[in-house]
């Protein structure tokens, strides 16, 4: 490592923040693009499982709230792709890489949504897991990304509330409604445990080394478990992991080790809904290509 890069590394490790026009090592720039791009892709792909439920949402109020959440998530993707564009990668290139499978999106968006219970679990617990990661990005060494995270976290807090409200309505409803939530939780627990990634020590995680993230994967998972396991259990729901418990001595949550090989397979496009979601994104991109052409030629 040359001395300039070493100096940069020490700067970000002592909480220094970097602006778009500042000098940065190539490796930092490429790690940033990779990390932020996966986030942008996830916001964009994350609306597809919810989109399926706009017409099937049980009340008008729920349809409106779900539509608003979807608009928020697409808005996040737009904000994030803007940040990547300023780092040198155009949005069209990001979308090309997404639909061709060259770039990744979060594991939780590779799964189907079977019932309205899944929609509630996604809005409550997937968004809760996401906000744990996103709050840690408020301290990202790349300042333009850290700044837009403020707006994103603000909007995510509505989503968690919306999800929790959906779940509360169902668990206080009929036995069948309660059952839908329990079944959805059974389906989503493994992806939720995968969500924060394998427990690689923070000091070996390049995203932490460059202070793109401000905490390690396991730390994020522990925060999620600490915050949400009690909230799940108080509703009478059962978490499908008999080994899950808090070690009162260490304060750490213990759980059955998730299958990390499966996580790797899912995020590389081999999840149960990966192919279908990418095909849909590809199709909708082709469908609306004319809009871009018309708008750009009219503006020119």
């Amino acid at each position: 490592m040359d001395s300039r890069t070493q100096e940069f590394l020490e700067y970000v490790q002592s909480s220094g923040q970097v602006e778009t026009g500042d000098w940065m090592p190539d490796e930092y720039r490429s790690k940033l693009v990779k990390f932020i791009e996966m986030h942008g892709n996830s916001e964009l792909m994350g609306v597809l499982p919810e989109r399926d439920w706009i017409l099937r949402a049980p009340t008008l109020q729920r349809k409106l709230a779900l539509t608003a959440k979807i608009q928020d998530e697409v808005g996040h993707a737009q904000l994030i792709y803007r940040v990547i564009e300023d780092l040198g990668k155009p949005r069209t290139a990001c979308l090309d890489d997404l639909v061709s499978g060259r770039s990744k999106f979060h594991n939780v968006f590779h799964y189907p949504t079977r019932t309205w219970g899944d929609v509630g679990v996604i809005a409550w617990l997937v968004d809760a897991a996401a906000i744990v990661s996103q709050k840690a990005l408020l301290k990202c060494s790349y300042a333009p990304y850290a700044r837009i995270m403020k707006k994103i976290c603000w909007e995510e807090s509505f989503h968690i509330l919306h999800g929790r409200d959906v779940i509360l309505a169902m668990v206080t409803g009929t036995q069948e409604q309660f059952g839908l939530v329990q079944e959805a939780l059974d389906r989503w627990w493994e992806p939720l445990m995968h969500f924060h990634g394998n427990p690689i020590p923070a000091d070996e995680d390049p995203m932490y080394i460059w202070r793109i993230k401000s905490q390690g994967n396991e730390e994020a998972r522990q925060q999620f478990l600490e915050g949400y396991v009690p909230q799940i259990r108080e509703l009478g729901l059962e978490i499908p992991d008999p080994a899950l418990r808090k070690d009162e001595g260490t304060g750490r949550w213990l759980y059955t080790e998730p299958d990390w090989e499966k996580l790797r397979a899912v995020v590389t496009g081999h999840g149960p809904a990966s192919a279908e979601r990418l095909a849909f994104r590809r199709l909708s991109r082709e469908d609306v290509a004319w809009v871009e052409r018309v708008v750009l030629s009219e503006a020119a």
Binding site: Q71, G75, Q78, R82, R147, V295, E298, A299
Partner: protein, 98 residues
């Protein structure tokens, strides 16, 4: 075209940089900025500025040691003590020791 968006949260507050939108022209930039930064009534006003219309200054050299322009440029402790001693008010000075 990139437009920088500045947002005023409530009347009377300063406009702060909120982010940017990409738009083919001002009309679209306005629509995008309204959607992105105003759809929850979270802004009292927005400013849109084309990025290429902004000029940035980010270096402030201090070759001539301009600290006389700042409060840390003045150390009056010793002189004030001397003045009070001379006037015989050191013991009775309000607030005691300077």
């Amino acid at each position: 075209m990139i437009y920088e968006v500045f947002r005023q949260e409530r009347k009377g507050q300063p406009f702060q940089h909120a982010g940017s939108v990409e738009a083919p022209d001002e009309r679209f930039a306005e629509i995008y900025a309204r959607e992105q930064y105003g759809r929850r009534q979270e802004s009292a006003a927005l400013w849109l500025v084309r990025r290429d219309a902004l000029s940035e200054i980010d270096d402030f050299p201090d070759e001539f040691d301009l600290k006389y322009r700042r409060v840390d440029g003045y150390s009056i402790k010793t002189r004030l003590r001397e003045a009070r001693e001379k006037a015989g008010t050191l013991e009775t000075a309000p607030g005691g020791e300077p």
